[in-house]
Symmetry: C2
Subunit: 110 residues, 2 copies
């Protein structure tokens, strides 16, 4: 899903910090690492400067994605896990609102 | 490589922060994500509270693993990439020195 917009690589300190908090008891580490790789692949122009995987030991079912201070996905609030394009759109809306995500922007695609 | 020591799950804020800085031009994101998953699997008792993947856009060949402020692996300094057990031992020496890593502690194994 290459980004169609002109690729301007921002300086590493400018990009957003994404954090994936996941319940360890639920064995969601691999799934979270997969989402992290998708995010780092799509936002490879410096708009995302880092993705942090943050295990939550005392949590029963928590799965949250934060971009800076903003919660862009909360499993409980949003009724489960996102499709990858959905999560990318929400991250894009925070880090690079004018950026087109190619296929990921085709809302019908799941 | 389950940890043989008694499993005491530390409170999430106590654990160490691990950061993997990788050269994006060298396409090392997937390799870095793999190491992150190995680290999160082995240090699943709270001794590592987060692992951050930090793409370096302007870097020619940088691959560095930091535990807090300490550089436990530097591709240039250490002559290439680590074997997984090697990296785990260096992280363990910082986050939980008295912790035995099972097979990962058998130095002959590669």
């Amino acid at each position: 899903h290459k980004i169609a917009a002109a690729r301007v690589v921002r300086h590493a300190t400018e990009g957003a910090s994404v954090r994936i908090k996941y319940c360890t008891g639920c064995r969601w580490m691999l799934r979270s690492a997969y989402f992290a790789q998708e995010i780092l692949s799509t936002f490879d122009d410096g708009s995302v400067r880092e993705v942090t995987l943050a295990p939550q030991y005392a949590s029963g079912g928590e799965w949250v994605v934060e971009v800076g201070e903003e919660v862009v996905w909360d499993r409980r609030r949003d009724g489960g896990f996102p499709q990858v394009p959905e999560l990318k759109q929400r991250i894009r809306d925070v880090v690079a609102p004018d950026q087109h995500l190619g296929h990921s922007d085709t809302t019908t695609l799941r």
